[in-house]
Symmetry: C2
Subunit: 325 residues, 2 copies
């Protein structure tokens, strides 16, 4: 496969080329990895910028319904929308077998939308790289908006926030007690909190929940990258397609402000650095899983467990003899 050719076809917006390229960045094979790196370099230099929107919502908040309604609204305005998914739990269930497309039937048939289900991968580090690079590919392919959704298991919310221009928390209406359900760190990463299901019987609860979160957000210190009034909490109804236009207007207003103030580019730069350091850490630790280090490690670990060698001395020994210290 010629990477310059594949790059040209991605830049021309060919969906099959994009799918093939994402399969390449998802692969664990060393030769695929080399090809993926070459492809990403071949794509460097285009001046397209998509708006990357991270979206976290636990099962039950109506995430698929929201993405379908929000996505169709955007494509209805002539925008091209890509949907990527990060679901660490799918590694256990063998990936989304039925695929995310059955969840978002109308959006998946929309020629202006591209939906890529969550891959079955066990390491969050691998998932992070794959999703980041898939987003780069979608950006090169000319998509205007890239939605990166996650169920928020473990560290996946933080990971998605670290690769998004905007980070949105989708919540369901709840009693005041459940307010603590959102992790503190995630609350502080959110640019917009959307309380879904503001329809029918749940409307009063949604309004109340929204007010609770708006109150909580006011307690957080304002970040440099936030204009007055952000982060915000709003109600929406994906089912009735209510509030979606307003939410999108807020996202655009925030993005415009950040671009004008230089925060948009600064955030992308800081994220790139973050991922560089994460890759370095992962690369260093990968050596422990390769021979002959792996065998030496097994041997030393046995002696440490038996109490014949201190953890510190064993580590020093391995670093000195096998890892070029």
């Amino acid at each position: 496969m010629d990477m310059d050719d594949l790059a040209a076809r991605i830049l021309a917006g060919e969906r099959r080329a994009l799918s093939r390229a994402i399969t390449l960045v998802e692969s664990g094979r060393a030769d695929h990895r080399r090809q993926a790196m070459a492809l990403l370099e071949a794509l460097r230099g285009h001046d397209r910028t998509a708006l990357r929107i991270g979206l976290s919502g636990t099962p039950g908040v109506g995430k698929s319904t929201f993405i379908e309604a929000f996505g169709l609204m955007l494509t209805g305005q002539g925008l091209r929308v890509a949907v990527l998914a990060v679901d660490p739990s799918s590694a256990r269930s063998g990936g989304s077998i039925l695929g995310d497309k059955t969840r978002m039937e109308r959006l998946s048939r929309d020629p202006h939308a591209f939906i890529r289900p969550s891959p079955a991968q066990s390491q969050l580090g691998g998932v992070a790289r794959r999703t980041r690079e898939a987003a780069d590919l979608c950006e090169a392919a000319g998509f205007d908006v890239i939605l990166i959704e996650t169920v928020g298991v473990g560290q996946s919310e933080t990971m998605v926030a670290e690769m998004s221009d905007l980070f949105i928390l989708l919540l369901a209406p709840a009693g005041g007690d459940e307010l603590q359900g959102v992790k503190r760190g995630i609350m502080e990463s959110a640019d917009l909190i959307l309380v879904n299901k503001a329809d029918g019987d749940l409307k009063p609860a949604a309004t109340r929940t929204c007010a609770d979160y708006a109150g909580a957000l006011r307690l957080l210190r304002r970040r440099a990258q936030d204009p007055q009034g952000f982060p915000k909490a709003m109600t929406v109804s994906a089912l009735e397609q209510a509030g979606l236009q307003t939410a999108w207007a807020e996202m655009q207003a925030l993005t415009d402000w950040r671009r004008a103030e230089g925060h948009f580019a600064a955030r992308r730069a800081a994220q790139a650095r973050h991922w560089f350091e994460a890759e370095l850490r992962e690369g260093l630790l990968a050596r422990l899983r390769r021979e002959p280090v792996k065998s030496a490690l097994v041997d030393l670990a046995a002696r440490v467990e038996a109490g014949d060698l201190s953890p510190a001395l064993a580590a020093e020994d391995l670093l000195r003899r096998h890892l070029g210290e």
Copy 2:
């Protein structure tokens, strides 16, 4: 300083030798580090085993009062007690300037007790190694019980649980709402939950809180290293010295069972392995902070931030050129 001589004096139970040795393992100087490693090797082979009790309690639960009362009860039974402290927040305040001894005045004057305040160190990794090695030294010096206390900031609770034979959570009476204040992972590490201040006006609240935690503990899956009925929740009053004997009897019963079933030794072996792996990780990452890697990293990071190089390619470049990949 001759390490064989220092080792002999520690084994003979000389307090000044022990203090000096702990100062050595706390030091960040490379020559001190080498001496500390030699000392720990010289001490290897003694067959003393202290009971290491990790104790976590946030400020306000009466931790100092508890340690003083509990420690005096133990020394009253002829046991020798060492108290080590892990307080990551002390790094900011410049360490316990007044010292932990003023908090536990009677225990600190007890000839059978040894209290070592928390050192001022910034890295949790460094604090972990120092505390682990200080516990090894106390064990060699013939202490019967080593209390390792922590305020439970950040990862310090997990760290202390990973170096203790028993892990105890000290809590204050509270309303039902505050039950969620204990981190889930920590609840699962606890062998015993002690609700303090079961005295005076707070007694009913303490009893209620204890029942709440006992209920919550029953919802956790039983661990292989727990006999029937553990983990347990109990009330104590450090102020009135009530319940301390019962708590100590439970700790002994649990320890005896674990020793008989082989879980005591297995837990120490697993902990040794855990710390070996932690030291390895730390050793590998330390290279990124040394020249010439550090300069190359700064240079590559700038190019990644500018968007001239992908995080993955930059990491690969550094690993290949500077870290012997």
